[in-house]
């Protein structure tokens, strides 16, 4: 365990404010996860706590691991009026990478019978892997519409249902996006990538509900035991990355200009109220909208495939969450409501009951949160809590977190063996790349249940349901 930490509870630890820190650093994890956390997480969260205008604490979720500037699983809020900053590292390169989850209205036994042909069709229909491109071809003007409109653009162009917009963060369209703040190169790279899954840890998974922890909330989310859901994990593709790459240079120069000490290159930042900070926020909002449009188009493709194989299927969007964002949110600080710029890098917004941002149907139970496990283990559906808002600006973990490097996984497993092993357990995996399948082997990840239990015990979320994989499409 890192020296100098103070135990606040069995699931919360504090690095007290010292030296150049402007606030303490908090770690939400049990003792076991704290012991597993790599040393870089502590160093990076300390650096985040040194940034100007940070409010309350720099925070690490239970799945925190070494990231770029911020740890992955890092959360920090900044007050623009107190010199607060916006940071590329606090958002990450894959802007608004996230998960959307559909209830299908089908039961496990129904889907199991036609699962193989369903997966063949999904594999043919969903563009995935290196160099994949979607069927949508955009002109510069049309792409600007995507960046300004997000999932709303997708719905207006025939991808998905209008009523789904309420079940997406920002109602499908983040305000403040300005396509003129995004480079021509970033846009050019995206012309053929709307409606693509990508590769790496991105996936599309058919899952069945194995266990319900909270009947009431599960009922509100439309979940029932042995019901089938579909989860899609992907982000803003090339555009988000190019925005990150472009602005790391711009904010690097800005940090020097404004005299902000930078302890790690990817922690570069600019005051929120500076021209550079404002431009980054507007570009990042474009990245968010790009990701929301991407997931909306993919959701539409998945619905079409399901309807071909299961005419009785009715795909209903439970919710769409983003992981890599900076959002302007109202939070109470010392009894006063303040507008804060909340960075969540590899962390999920997890608002508790009552927040006006939530769909009316969820306002009594809190926001759905989806925690992806691996191709071979369970995933979780959770809900935000009021305590999570008080502690961590309404934030939660986002996944299991890697326990092993990609290189180590490649040395240990062969993609074909991973897929065969999962097949022997009844899980169908369609992988574009055998290498990718090996890198994403279930054994390469931490125990998602330990991560979820730590978030639950810390009070950040409540558990709603556990889902098991039936089939997975990997990029």
């Amino acid at each position: 365990m890192k020296e100098g930490l103070v135990k606040i509870s069995d699931w919360q630890w504090e690095m007290p404010m010292h030296g150049p820190m402007n606030c303490p650093a908090w770690f939400f994890a049990d003792r076991g996860l704290m012991l597993e956390m790599d040393a870089k997480v502590f160093e990076q969260l300390h650096n985040v706590a040194c940034l100007p205008g940070i409010v309350r604490a720099a925070m690490a979720m239970p799945d925190a691991h070494w990231g770029y500037g911020f740890p992955i699983g890092g959360v920090a809020a900044f007050d623009a009026n107190a010199g607060g900053v916006i940071s590329v590292g606090g958002v990450g390169y894959d802007i608004s990478c996230g998960v959307r989850c559909f209830a299908t209205g089908l039961r496990r036994e129904q889907v199991a019978k036609g699962l193989a042909s369903l997966m063949e069709d999904l594999f043919r229909t969903i563009p995935a892997g290196v160099g994949s491109e979607g069927k949508i071809r955009l002109t510069p003007e049309r792409l600007d519409e995507v960046l300004a409109g997000g999932a709303r653009w997708a719905v207006e162009n025939g991808y998905g249902l209008r009523e789904e917009l309420e079940y997406i963060e920002e109602h499908g369209c983040m305000q403040g996006a300005d396509p003129s703040c995004v480079s021509a190169l970033a846009k050019e790279r995206q012309y053929r990538q709307v409606g693509t899954l990508g590769s790496g840890n991105h996936y599309l998974e058919i899952q069945s509900v194995d266990e319900i922890y909270c009947e009431d909330t599960a009922g509100v989310f439309g979940l029932e035991k042995d019901g089938v859901v579909v989860s899609i994990h992907c982000g803003s593709r090339a555009l988000g990355h190019q925005i990150g790459t472009d602005y790391i240079q711009i904010l690097g120069r800005a940090a020097k200009k404004y005299g902000i000490p930078i302890r790690e290159r990817e922690l570069v930042c600019a005051p929120i109220l500076s021209p550079e900070g404002e431009r980054y926020f507007k570009a990042m909002a474009c990245g968010v909208n790009c990701a929301l449009a991407n997931r909306q188009v993919l959701g539409h493709l998945v619905r079409e495939v399901f309807s071909r194989h299961f005419p009785s299927a009715s795909l209903r969007l439970i919710y769409d969450v983003s992981h890599n964002t900076c959002k302007v949110e109202a939070h109470e600080v010392s009894g006063v409501s303040k507008r804060l710029y909340v960075h969540r890098k590899g962390a999920t917004r997890a608002f508790g009951p009552g927040r006006p941002e939530l769909p009316e149907a969820y306002r009594d139970v809190g926001q759905p949160v989806f925690i992806g496990g691996t191709m071979g283990t369970c995933s979780y559906i959770l809900a935000g809590t009021e305590m999570g808002e008080e502690l961590a600006w309404g934030s939660a973990c986002h996944g299991a977190g890697r326990a092993m490097s990609r290189n180590a996984a490649l040395k240990r497993w062969k993609g074909r063996d991973v897929v065969a092993s999962l097949a022997s357990k009844g899980i169908i995996v369609k992988a574009v790349s055998w290498q990718g399948a090996a890198e994403e082997a279930p054994g390469a990840y931490k125990d998602v249940t330990a991560v979820v239990n730590a978030a639950y015990n810390a009070g950040l979320v409540k558990k709603v349901a556990k889902v098991l994989p039936m089939a997975c499409l990997k990029g």
Partner: protein
């Protein structure tokens, strides 16, 4: 002397180019990076050629700028790059880059590299060998 190697990182992958000169190390770091997308990269013969340039404020910044330039244009041209002839002057780089269209590749692909990062970034000389390395986001 081996030309490149991949090294461990918790979530992503490190690329390390080695060379007798700084330029060679940059060329081999690029080769390392594309080996993640196409594991048999060393066997590919370039059929198309491009000219790229980039600059930064120091040599380490130049490495990430170089690798990110390659990622961007490989994506844009739907190609994989496999041969590199790099010239570096101060913190500016020009290169003749060869590659093949992605659609012409027959073998199995690896995983997509999304960006070169500043993590584990190092450009320098050890025991007479130039090293250019960083972690790439996949």
């Amino acid at each position: 002397m081996k030309r490149f190697e991949l090294f461990e990182h918790g979530a992503d992958i490190g690329v390390r180019g080695l060379g007798k000169t700084l330029s060679q190390a940059f060329e081999n770091a690029a080769l390392a990076m594309f080996s993640i997308e196409v594991p048999y990269i060393k066997n590919i013969v370039a059929t198309c050629f491009w000219q790229f340039s980039c600059e930064s404020y120091d040599q380490e910044g130049l490495l990430t700028a170089w690798l990110n330039t390659l990622i961007s244009y490989a994506d844009l041209y739907r190609a994989v790059f496999c041969s590199f002839d790099v010239t570096i002057e101060d913190c500016s780089l020009t290169a003749r880059v060869g590659g093949v269209p992605l659609n012409d590749l027959q073998g199995e692909k690896g995983v997509e590299v999304k960006g070169a990062t500043f993590t584990e970034l190092y450009v320098g000389r050890r025991d007479g060998i130039w090293i250019a390395q960083c972690v790439v986001d996949v």
